[in-house]
């Protein structure tokens, strides 16, 4: 192996290619890291702003009492005017595969109003990101590593034949399989190192956890090994003496495995498991809410009290407008949309499971899926993030409802005890 590595590393073209790979890997990690840092900065800035805004909010929306400490606030105003930050915080390894992070907002602001309308209002895919993808480690590994394998291994036999060395080599080697195996392995090792070394440096610099690091390295090594074996199978077959043909064949395989088949299968999955667009949900929510203004208040409050009988015997709704009624029809729009939300999430999971099956056949999908799992930017984590928002919104409602329905004013102490969205650092 030592001699094979020497033979390779003495060639300037090989050194240039490996250096380019090293550089691109470093840049992809840096780019991913920059994106994640930007998200962290946004979250920190939003947190800082919220910490300043909330005390001010109470000050501005509270009503005078006999003393400063007796200031109170109306629960309806609190629900309508107070925004709460929710964060889609990146995980430690999110920089490796940005996935959905660039198209899903990292910071959103929600109120006590109907949740689904607010959540899906922000779900809009940026066409430029969707078209181009993002230059992260996952992208580079999936698309560039195979090309590097093809460049270094398409002419294993053909180059020796062209240099009229093949016969001589065969006359020297005792086990041709062992000889070619060493050639393939030495190339695999060098390519893998150009991907693994920058990852190791990053992990060391930022003191990242070991288990995900080992997984990333294993995925990298296995994926490059798959392409090395594929290249070897093409360039070492019995009549593999035409380097141009080998390169063309391998590039076609790359095109099929990396571009055509994953895209076709995605198209099929979208056709087989159609998911309602988020904006449609937001629109429908808005229509329920707008429609509720024209309905008799009883039509909203009766089903609401059926769900929350504990507030049934609270003071009745009077006058043309009442916050109780307003928040009840906001919430009932969420309740009516619930089957669609459940169905949507179920279909997303079905699509995700089907992609998982596909990953057994398409190595590109396997890599992308595994790296996105490590990066916590896959569908499972996205849905978990949604669940956390729903739990927070529920906690917020449960905290505000006693004041709203019993028509009790909030004191500053009550205000400070309102739940806040906890950013765990990984959603």
């Amino acid at each position: 192996m030592k001699h094979e590595l020497t033979l390779l590393l003495k060639q300037r073209s090989i050194i240039s290619l490996l250096f380019l790979s090293l550089l691109l890997t470093g840049f992809s990690l840096f780019n991913g890291w920059q994106n994640i840092s930007h998200i962290h900065a946004q979250i920190n800035e939003a947190t800082r702003a919220e910490n300043l805004r909330k005390p001010d909010f109470f000050e501005h929306h509270s009503h005078e009492g006999p003393s400063d400490s007796d200031k109170t606030m109306d629960a309806g105003e609190l629900g309508y005017y107070l925004f709460h930050n929710i964060y889609h915080a990146p995980g430690e390894w999110s920089f490796i595969a940005l996935g959905n992070r660039l198209v899903i907002p990292s910071v959103q602001r929600i109120r006590l109003l109907g949740l689904q309308g607010q959540l899906y209002d922000g779900e809009s895919h940026h066409p430029e990101y969707v078209m181009l993808g993002s230059f992260d480690y996952a992208f580079l590994l999936v698309f560039f590593a195979p090309l590097l394998c093809i460049a270094l291994m398409h002419d294993l036999k053909a180059s020796e034949q062209q240099a009229q060395r093949l016969l001589f080599l065969h006359s020297q080697v005792k086990e041709p399989l062992y000889f070619w195996g060493k050639r393939v392995l030495s190339r695999w090792l060098l390519i893998t190192l150009t991907f693994a070394l920058p990852v190791l440096v990053f992990a060391g610099l930022y003191k990242l956890s070991l288990a995900p690091l080992l997984r990333v390295l294993a995925i990298t090594a296995l994926y490059i090994f798959f392409w090395a074996v594929l290249c070897a199978a093409v360039s070492l077959r019995k009549r593999a003496l035409n380097a141009n043909f080998n390169a063309m064949l391998l590039t076609s395989i790359w095109l099929m495995l990396c571009v055509v088949l994953p895209n076709l299968s995605q198209l099929w999955l979208h056709y087989r498991y159609p998911v309602q667009d988020g904006s449609q949900i937001a629109l429908q929510h808005r229509q329920w809410v707008h429609g509720a203004w024209d309905l008799p208040k009883e039509d909203t409050l009766r089903p609401f009290y059926a769900l929350y009988p504990q507030w049934k015997d609270t003071p009745p709704v009077t006058g043309r407008f009442h916050w109780k009624w307003y928040f009840a029809f906001q919430h009932m729009a969420d309740v009516k949309l619930q089957p669609q939300i459940v169905e949507r999430e179920h279909t997303l999971m079905q699509r995700d499971r089907a992609t998982g099956l596909l990953a057994w056949v398409l190595p590109t999908v396997w890599v992308q899926r595994n790296l996105e799992e490590i990066a916590q930017s896959n569908v499972t984590h996205l849905l978990a993030h949604r669940k956390r928002i729903e739990r927070f919104h529920t906690a917020l409602r449960h905290a505000a409802y006693p004041f709203l329905f019993e028509e009790k004013p909030l004191t500053e102490q009550d205000f400070q005890h309102l739940p806040t969205f906890e950013s765990t650092g990984s959603d």
């Binding site: 020497t6 016969l167 020297q172």
Partner: protein, 236 residues
């Protein structure tokens, strides 16, 4: 006398055509045997057979190298053999020393002999040893290949058209080297078109026609152009 190469009743069919037909050949230690033949006569095919690079289904007969049957133990048989192709098989981006070291690693023989000594014996100037072989002339590359054969301590040396593309001085130097190898007790089999050189260094001269080898008298005075043409046409 020790027979370093013994080819017995070797026949080879290729695409239904008989290339070698019940061919017999021996090369003894300290002897140079040259095989002449027209283009397409099967000279290179004969070398490929000796190197064990033909499918056994196409080939019948026995090949023994230093007494070891190629069909039984190719690995051990090959360890006694060094092959120098018509185009020197050196890697252009490696130096002479690196090339020899790499080739030795392929044969798993390690450095049996000091590479520098072998390069000196092969007549490669020391100033060239560490330069990339892409800067060498063909004659210098041939010397690297011969130095490898010496470093490997091969008993049998197979040379395919060694003088092709060499100028007269380089040809003379190479011929001297072949004689030196012979003097060191190596058996040398040369496949060549260069009759005059072959007469100079060979102990036996053979003509390959119709898949069989026929001896030629080693008398330079009898080699008229007319006789050579008839020999090449198999009419001797």
């Amino acid at each position: 006398m020790t027979s370093l190469l013994s080819v017995q009743q070797l026949s080879l069919l290729f695409a239904g055509r008989s290339i070698l037909n019940q061919l017999n050949l021996t090369v003894e230690a300290g002897h140079v045997v040259s095989v002449l033949g027209s283009n397409g006569a099967g000279k290179s095919t004969l070398l490929k057979s000796i190197l064990g690079l033909h499918d056994s289904a196409e080939q019948t007969g026995n090949i023994l190298i230093a007494g070891i049957d190629m069909a039984q133990d190719r690995q051990r048989a090959l360890s006694h053999l060094a092959y120098v192709p018509e185009q020197p098989a050196v890697y252009g981006h490696l130096s002479a020393i690196e090339n020899i070291r790499y080739f030795l690693s392929l044969s798993h023989v390690g450095e049996q002999k000091e590479i520098a000594t072998c390069l000196t014996l092969a007549g490669l100037p020391e100033t060239a040893w560490h330069r990339p072989c892409s800067e060498y002339s063909k004659g210098m590359k041939q010397k690297v290949m011969l130095a490898f054969a010496l470093a490997k301590q091969a008993k049998l040396l197979l040379l395919d058209e060694p003088n092709s593309g060499l100028d007269p001085q380089a040809t003379e130097e190479l011929n001297q080297l072949i004689v030196q190898c012979k003097q060191r007790g190596m058996g040398v089999l040369v496949v060549t078109h260069d009759v005059l050189s072959a007469i100079g260094f060979s102990d036996r001269l053979l003509m390959l026609t119709h898949g069989q080898l026929a001896p030629i008298a080693l008398d330079q005075s009898t080699f008229t152009l007319d006789r050579l043409q008839r020999l090449y046409q198999g009419q001797a």
